[in-house]
Symmetry: C2
Subunit: 335 residues, 2 copies
């Protein structure tokens, strides 16, 4: 080790590089080593270090859907809380898939300092034989497996129901997501329950579902609308903003006035929802916070702390825009 040529043993260099000098290295040596490190641009070889320590400085983030503006925010939050002490690396799988058992084994062979898993299912967690620090994101109902950070989508769903009821809507349609993720069941159930309590009816016949895809949602809406219209539906709630974009698209084609003839709302509050015309009313989910908190929890675990609150839930809030509220406006087209 070249750095040791600046006066001391490799052991001392290691101590300094790891900040474990307290009461073990003289001030004199500390500064001498620091200078040598700076001069040589030395960076601790993480492979050697990992082998000796039994663990690396890599944190692996596993997620089924990385190409998603919502997820980009989550990542930002994770980065912020993890800082530069850890290398955040994204596990890349086929779109919409979680890594398979042998992928996981290979990832474990990297000896990551910790694992962050977004939107897992029970089967995945069952297989996950990893023993290291683990935090789940957006895994409602799976709290038994590991500390997790969840989103309280139900509260936002109730706010949305109240908003629509307050705007005078009485018959509402629901455009669901067909993926079996727990969050969608929660969104639907919470909304339906609150709607019923507020005197709005969501006829089972007026509930449909598609994949999370603008085109699919658009087609499904186009096919369903005549019937919904006949049934007196004046508002449609979509399980995701992506579904809602499909509805907005078809509604424009059909010349439907929004929100006068049809109010539209979604969940997620994706960036595009703020700039679309009309703006899309949506249940805002704190993506960056989700990442941030998950990162903090994982740090705690890595540092061997016991988490005071292993289960965290973040609030969702309704953002009202032009798609349900004429007054909410948004920018209004050509000037």
């Amino acid at each position: 080790m070249v750095a040791s040529r600046a006066g001391v043993s490799t052991a001392t260099v290691s101590l300094v590089a790891n900040g474990k000098t307290h009461g073990r290295v003289s001030e004199d040596n500390i500064s001498r080593v620091r200078q040598a490190i700076a001069e040589l641009g030395y960076v601790v070889d993480s492979v050697g270090s990992s082998l000796a320590k039994g663990v690396s400085s890599i944190v692996i983030l596993v997620a089924p859907d990385i190409s998603n503006p919502f997820f980009a925010k989550v990542i930002e939050g994770v980065r912020e809380s993890l800082g530069s002490d850890f290398q955040l690396l994204l596990s890349v799988t086929e779109a919409g898939e979680l890594p398979r058992a042998d992928d996981i084994r290979r990832l474990s062979a990297l000896r990551p300092a910790g694992l962050l898993v977004d939107a897992p299912d029970a089967a995945f967690l069952e297989n996950l034989s990893s023993t290291g620090p683990l935090v789940l994101l957006d895994a409602p109902g799976l709290e038994a497996y590991a500390p997790s950070v969840n989103l309280d989508v139900a509260s936002g769903a109730r706010e949305l129901a109240a908003h629509l009821a307050g705007s005078g809507h009485r018959r509402v349609a629901y455009l669901d997501s067909v993926t079996g993720t727990a969050t969608f069941a929660i969104r639907r159930t919470a909304f339906l329950q609150a709607a019923a309590a507020l005197g709005m009816s969501v006829d089972p016949a007026n509930r449909i579902g598609t994949t999370i895809d603008v085109g699919a949602a658009a087609e499904a809406f186009a096919a369903a609308w005549p019937q919904w219209q006949q049934a007196g539906v004046s508002a449609v709630v979509c399980a995701t903003d992506t579904h809602a974009y499909g509805v907005l698209q078809e509604a424009r084609v059909a010349g439907l006035r929004i929100p006068a003839e049809l109010a539209v709302a979604g969940f997620d509050d994706l960036p595009y929802s703020a700039t679309s015309n009309p703006g899309l009313t949506s249940v805002h989910l704190p993506a960056a916070q989700l990442g941030l908190k998950a990162g903090e929890q994982l740090r705690g675990l890595i540092e061997g702390r016991t988490l005071e609150r292993p289960q965290l839930t973040l609030e969702s809030t309704l953002v009202v825009r032009g798609s349900t509220d004429r007054a909410a406006g948004g920018h209004s087209g050509l000037r």
Copy 2:
């Protein structure tokens, strides 16, 4: 090492695990070791292996913009070509940023088998002191730094110009991206040149630019349209599909008939462009191929081969849809 308990030395196990048995291990031992490996679910510890070999099985993909449907396709291609011999990990940076020098040093300390860098700039490559296998993606003009796989956006731009000229357009506007990336200069230059050759005018006054953002593009178009209209502009070409979505959005609000009163086209052919209404005419870029070829080139480098063709260029092609061609149709709204 537990696996060696199945009869032989660790050296033999290592040989089998690495497939270096040719003429060095007896058939007998090979199968005995294989069985032991299977029984114990043994996976080579990549940290120990990396240290001994001096290189890991990690391939790091560095990119400024991971939350982009186009990029998701690129990743798919990379995965396919890299297979399971390498761990593909995404370096996560702030949105739109490439990693800084010390990030890179830390990544290098992981001893990656290779590096894939998407859309870099010269400054980044200057700093990149990494010595290992390196392949650039979408880095026109930077071929001097490393083997690269590029996109021939110019040919698509020329096709687009021919298509618009053939549809009778004479005055065209251009909505550019303001980020300095080389690809945008190429898109613009190629289109303008071909347009001029075909007798279409793109008045400098009818060229504007915004960030890659639907809202920003929508506003800019809204502000510019009155003048464009007065100037007789009948088509607008956008540097990205994202820009075009903004134009389509505002055009709908204004009640502009598309493509009759205004034809709109973009670059990238994002998934949404196929399902929007009208569908968006766009220059298709082979994202998955880009990733696939880059992965193949990197593999070659890692395996010590000399690349027969270190510089690859993939063709772009025009996809004509309803936004420029009434006949191209697309699905047509409520049935």
